[in-house]
């Protein structure tokens, strides 16, 4: 769907495809590329489960 409201996410179609393949919500990511561009790397990182389960809030 064309983004109707606001400026669309800054990522190439192929990066957006990767996000879809990996089940990552690209709109929730913060890009590390120039100008905040979301890279393939950013998407892959988002799928990495933290090695140790996060500590429960006290």
């Amino acid at each position: 769907k064309p983004a109707e409201a606001g400026v669309p996410v800054l990522a190439t179609p192929s990066t957006r495809m990767l996000a879809k393949q990996l089940g990552v919500d690209i709109n929730a990511l913060k890009g590390t590329g120039p100008g905040g561009r979301i890279t393939d790397e950013d998407v892959r990182k988002a799928t990495e489960k933290p090695a140790v389960p996060p500590i429960q809030a006290a």
């Binding site: 983004a3 400026v7 800054l10 990522a11 190439t12 179609p13 879809k20 100008g35």
Partner: protein, 471 residues
């Protein structure tokens, strides 16, 4: 597919062989699925038989005649330049036939099962197809609804193919009457109006919206309105209208600028909206949900409320055209084969075959304002483009919309020569998240029409050396 005396079984049944359906079918087959493609007409849908392609084939001929007539000053000697309508239709038919043959071959080579007939559903796993060779039951695991849409008639005034025409009937006129009235101001109405004008007719266009082609900025329309005027095409904005059948034609009454006007015509084209081709398809026997005009409710992965059913193309709720239909066919085929669908696109290229042509994608100035985006705008006229001047077509301009600060390109709009092709650099720019500088720093061949896109980007940055900038 197992063919029995009574029943045919298939994994994927696709109803409708327009751009959406045949693309999905071929891709499904290539991905190894068992797929059956059903259409009550020939392959190719509205796009090939009554829409995009016939319009372009006829326009090509009409425009060549126009160009040739206007070119005496340029050194083109020719006498009695005119359209031979019979031959032009034959040409159009030959083009359609050739492309239809291509689709058929592609289906065959990919292993798509093609069935001719009208498809309706008995349940979420059974359909009947009634065609020239009788009626056949088909069982399926998944079904794709790709049956497209048709033009909506005026209440009480059904299309008769003679005096009350839908836009696609208008492509089959065997003469070019002078007194046509077109009701509507959207894509289809203006396309038909422009085709008729190119063929030398002088239709009257009456529309109800605030302006014709309201999805593009007002300034893009201006060169088209001017050309319409020069060709004797009248355009009226009406606050209301009514149509009455008379003995030998129709009378259209409408209110324009507070004044009652009327137009009499033998040929009325009605292009006021669409209805989905879902009636009589037995969808009430399934879980598929429709809206008031029959359009299928589906999500961005084309899933309907019935888990066995998908919908793509014009039949689906929401804006569509042939390029979206192809895209959805590709994406859905992947989904049916167990892949994720394609990610959403950001920009829909719109192309309108007016004179000059309009092509538009992404945010318009007006929409950017509405969305609260602070935008910078660059504009470049074709009068300053060497190629356009050398073609004698230095009309119109390119306009680029970018986000202030980041310079990210959000919209590209062209009215002028070659609009349909030069737009595409801008469409890719929007999808890639390119900045104005990205296009400005990229070499553009000279002298070409596509340089105008670069210059519009430079103008947005106040860096164009090809126009006089007010500072």
């Amino acid at each position: 597919m197992v063919v029995g005396d009574i029943e045919v079984g298939t994994d994927v049944l696709i109803a409708g062989a327009g751009p959406a359906g045949y693309t999905a079918a071929i891709r499904c087959a290539r991905l190894g699925l068992d797929v059956t493609l059903i259409d009550r007409n020939e392959l190719g849908g509205v796009c090939l038989h009554k829409g995009c392609i016939p319009v372009k084939a006829l326009l090509h001929v009409f425009r060549l005649v126009e160009d040739c007539r206007r070119a005496a000053d340029m050194g083109v000697k020719a006498d009695g330049v005119a359209v031979d309508l019979k031959k032009a239709y034959e040409w159009k038919d030959a083009v359609v036939k050739r492309l239809e043959h291509g689709i058929r071959e592609l289906c065959q080579a990919s292993g798509v099962q093609v069935m001719e007939g009208s498809c309706s559903f008995l349940s979420s796993s059974k359909a009947v197809v009634s065609g020239p060779s009788g009626t056949q039951r088909v069982t399926f695991r998944r079904a794709v609804i790709a049956t497209g849409a048709r033009h909506k008639p005026l209440p009480g005034l059904p299309f008769d193919g003679k005096s009350v025409l839908s836009p696609d009937d208008a492509i089959y006129l065997d003469r070019l009457p002078d007194d046509v009235v077109i009701l509507g101001g959207g894509y289809a109405a203006i396309t038909i109006g422009a085709l008729m004008a190119a063929g030398g007719m002088k239709p009257t266009i009456i529309h109800k919206g605030e302006r014709m082609l309201s999805f593009v900025d007002r300034d893009l329309i201006r060169p088209v309105i001017k050309k319409f005027g020069e060709k004797g095409v009248k355009v009226f904005q009406a606050s209301s209208w009514s149509v009455e059948r008379m003995d030998d034609g129709l009378r259209v009454e409408f209110e324009h600028d507070g004044v009652k006007e009327q137009a009499e015509t033998k040929t009325l084209v009605v292009a006021i909206g669409m209805l989905a081709n879902t009636d009589g398809m037995g969808l009430e026997n399934t879980g598929v949900r429709l809206d008031g005009d029959g359009f299928v409710m589906a999500d961005e992965n084309f899933r309907t409320d019935d888990p066995a059913f998908y919908a793509i193309g014009d039949v689906k709720c929401g804006h569509c055209n042939a390029s979206i239909a192809f895209w959805e066919g590709m994406s859905l085929a992947g989904i049916l084969a167990g892949r994720p669908g394609w990610p959403g696109y950001m920009a829909v290229p719109q192309t309108i075959s007016t004179d000059p042509e309009i092509a538009s994608a992404g945010y318009t100035e007006e929409k950017a304002k509405e969305a609260g985006i602070e935008a910078i705008v660059g504009r470049f006229p074709f009068t300053a483009n060497g190629k356009a001047v050398s073609m004698g077509k230095a009309e119109g301009f390119v306009k680029v919309i970018a986000e202030k600060g980041t310079h990210r390109i959000l919209g590209v709009h062209v009215v002028g020569p070659g609009a349909f092709d030069i737009l595409q650099e801008g469409v890719l720019a929007i999808e890639m998240g390119a900045r104005l500088e990205d296009i400005m720093l990229t070499l553009h061949p000279h002298p070409t029409l596509c340089e105008a896109v670069k210059e519009a980007c430079a103008a947005a940055l106040r860096e164009s050396t090809s126009i006089i900038e007010k500072s």
